[in-house]
């Protein structure tokens, strides 16, 4: 049995089905990311795992115990909220020690544990301050320390990086990953940011409209998306989808290259590509254009700057995609299909 199991989890708010049947098995020590756009149900799912929402159906098992009926304080979980939820009227020390005081642990132990947690997150010097005196990054670490100090079985993180400055986010992500690896706590991380997800998770569960579309490693999800939603949600820019009679043909912009670049003999499909506009991002060039009789410049090619090929807007070129980089999706269901003959 996995460490955390969600079976048939459902949550309905009146008519609205926020979570519509989710099955998920999470191994001990795993860092799993639940990725999806706003409103897909990921936060509701997390709140059910935490015990802040009562499921309409299904059950939740943590460490072999069915916790579905139990309130948050009876589950061995810790949670970091998007807003960090630091208690404004308490010092940082009191914030971090709050869960320990709730369990009525002896003072000596409390002090030791708080020092330990603060040490891991590098915030020892902030212990006497108040939340309002701290920066965003510091507050986030306090929230993590507070979660850590309980030594929980599962740690739940609800978009904890979205309130940080863009520059801070990358280093915070890095630290978070090393932090989790060294401590080995099973972690469930919820986000809408696919770059975060790809960078952090051992596995990613992509959610939309209350259902999990696909679960897999970042590579699996990226290379072998299960449906058009996953295909277009991941990747920046998203996968190109060409309308082709009964199905869509999909290929990623970085696999869509000028013919002369891909000349190693692998089987390819050729597309006449008229370039509309070019965005030079420094490290890459994004070419927006049309294939065949498309109307707008919807198809994108991502050319690394290392490829020195001259491309002019308004001109048509022969672009190719390797056959094994092509993906086929059923038009009706959006699901992945086996390779089709065109």
């Amino acid at each position: 049995m996995a460490f955390v199991e969600l079976n048939g989890l459902r949550k309905e708010f009146g008519e609205v089905k926020a979570v519509n049947g989710v099955d998920l098995s999470i191994e001990e020590g795993e860092f799993i990311v639940i990725l999806g756009p706003s409103g897909c149900g990921k936060t509701t799912l997390m709140r059910m795992i935490a015990g802040l929402e009562k499921p309409t159906g299904g059950n939740i098992v943590i460490n072999n115990e069915d916790v579905t009926r139990l309130p948050p304080r009876a589950r061995e979980i810790a949670m970091v909220f998007q807003s960090y939820a630091l208690y404004p009227h308490m010092s940082i020390f009191d914030n971090i020690s709050f869960p320990l005081r709730a369990r009525k642990e002896p003072r000596q132990e409390i002090e030791e544990k708080v020092e330990w947690a603060a040490g891991i997150l590098g915030i020892e010097r902030l212990l006497e301050r108040r939340p309002r005196q701290l920066s965003g990054g510091e507050r986030q670490r306090v929230a993590l320390a507070r979660a850590l100090v309980k030594e929980p079985a599962v740690m739940l993180l609800d978009e904890p990086l979205s309130n940080l400055d863009a520059k801070l986010r990358a280093s915070a992500r890095d630290e978070l990953q090393r932090f989790q690896r060294s401590l080995g706590i099973t972690t469930i991380f919820v986000t809408h940011d696919q770059i975060e997800a790809m960078g952090l998770g051992d596995r990613i569960a992509v959610m939309n409209a209350g259902k999990v579309r696909q679960i897999g490693t970042p590579q699996e999800i990226y290379d072998d998306p299960a449906d058009t939603f996953v295909a277009t949600f991941l990747g920046s820019p998203p996968m190109n989808l060409l309308d082709h009679q009964r199905y869509y043909v999909g290929f990623r912009p970085e696999n869509f290259l000028p013919a002369q670049v891909l000349s190693n003999g692998a089987p390819v499909k050729t597309f006449p590509f008229r370039v509309g506009r070019i965005e030079n991002l420094g490290s890459d060039r994004l070419l927006y254009g049309t294939i065949a009789d498309e109307e707008e410049d919807r198809t994108v090619s991502k050319l690394p700057s290392t490829v020195e090929v001259s491309i002019e807007p308004g001109e048509a070129y022969e672009f190719v995609v390797r056959d094994d980089n092509l993906r086929y999706f059923d038009k009706g269901t959006g699901l992945r299909m086996p390779p089709q003959a065109t």
């Binding site: 048939g8 309409t56 009926r69 139990l70 309130p71 259902k211 269901t333």
Partner: protein, 325 residues
């Protein structure tokens, strides 16, 4: 699309039953129970001491109950008929509306001005605020007693000042008497009642408007100044619309306090001279408690309620609608 995806991705969806509510040691988390328990005493109080008396008032008004007589016999609309046909009642009804409306008009204008002044910084502001709050902080009856003296027919300080500057007395503008009978003459008595009401309500309205003014974003004011608008244009076209919801609340409270008040009239004039400053709440007390005819008193008092309700709903609705998101 969702249907077929459901089949494909989660083919063996078993219907798990909904989890039960927490019991035993997790009772303190049982939100439904907590919610009801927490709310119950308040609801009880309101039902027992507001709801039931309200219906009792209606019951009284259609019976012949008096202070002495504990039996209640149904008399239909007799009480209402008897009450409504008296000149005192009609005067009281008129006065109640008149005092309330005129007071509010004066108060709103003055409060706007005063609030604008009070939202500035100046030395001695705490003291000024203290002075301005005083009329509202003082118990109504006690404040009115102060005015009782100031408006006295013999010893009024106002009269003394007017005499000194030659406006009162023989051969003067307001003469020939040496005293203006503020509480003895019909128009002056009505004016006095309104004066005391204004004096009392102004602080409340001012404070509420001050809160409204400080909530206007500075950005908007700066923008208007850059756009070249004058002070009055800024105030009337930018500020006023924004504080309209709060002003409505101030208006609502002021109206209610004046409309349902019996203290000012009681202490100042007892409804006199004759019945020229009579108001419904005071008249209800005279008839019901002082006179002993509970049923007539109830009938009179009931006239207060529909107006109050209508005004409250109107103002709350318009406050909602005029709220700028």
């Amino acid at each position: 699309m969702t249907e077929t995806v459901e089949e494909a991705v989660a083919p063996d969806l078993v219907a798990y039953p909904a989890p039960e509510t927490p019991r035993g040691r997790y009772l303190a988390d049982h939100e439904g129970l907590m919610g009801t328990l927490f709310l119950a005493p308040a609801v009880l109080y309101i039902v027992l001491l507001v709801g039931i008396p309200f219906f009792l008032a209606i019951a009284f008004s259609v019976t012949d109950v008096t202070v002495g007589n504990t039996s209640m016999d149904f008399v239909g609309l007799d009480n209402f008929r008897r009450v409504v046909t008296t000149p005192q009642f009609r005067r009281a009804l008129l006065n109640t509306f008149f005092f309330a409306v005129v007071t509010q008009i004066i108060v709103i204008i003055l409060a706007n001005i005063l609030a604008l002044i009070m939202t500035r910084d100046f030395p001695g502001k705490w003291l000024a605020r203290f002075a301005i709050i005083l009329p509202w902080a003082t118990p109504i009856s006690l404040g009115t007693i102060g005015w009782l003296w100031i408006l006295d027919s013999k010893f009024s300080p106002i009269d003394w000042v007017l005499q000194q500057i030659g406006l009162l007395g023989p051969d003067t503008l307001l003469g020939p008497g040496r005293h203006l009978l503020y509480l003895g003459r019909e128009e002056l008595a009505m004016g006095s009642v309104i004066l005391v009401h204004v004096w009392r309500i102004l602080p409340l309205a001012t404070v509420i408007l001050m809160a409204g003014l400080t909530s206007v974003p500075q950005d908007l004011l700066d923008q208007a100044e850059v756009d070249g608008a004058s002070f009055s244009r800024i105030h009337f076209q930018v500020v006023l619309p924004l504080i309209l919801p709060i002003m409505s609340i101030a208006l609502l409270f002021g109206l209610i306090f004046t409309f349902s008040d019996m203290v000012v009239a009681f202490v100042l004039t007892r409804g006199g001279p004759v019945y020229y400053t009579q108001v419904l709440p005071l008249w209800a007390w005279f008839k019901g408690i002082d006179g002993g005819s509970l049923s007539e008193g109830a009938a009179i008092a009931l006239f207060i309620f529909p107006v109050l309700l209508a005004v409250a709903i109107l103002i709350l609705r318009s406050a909602r609608r005029s709220e700028v998101a």
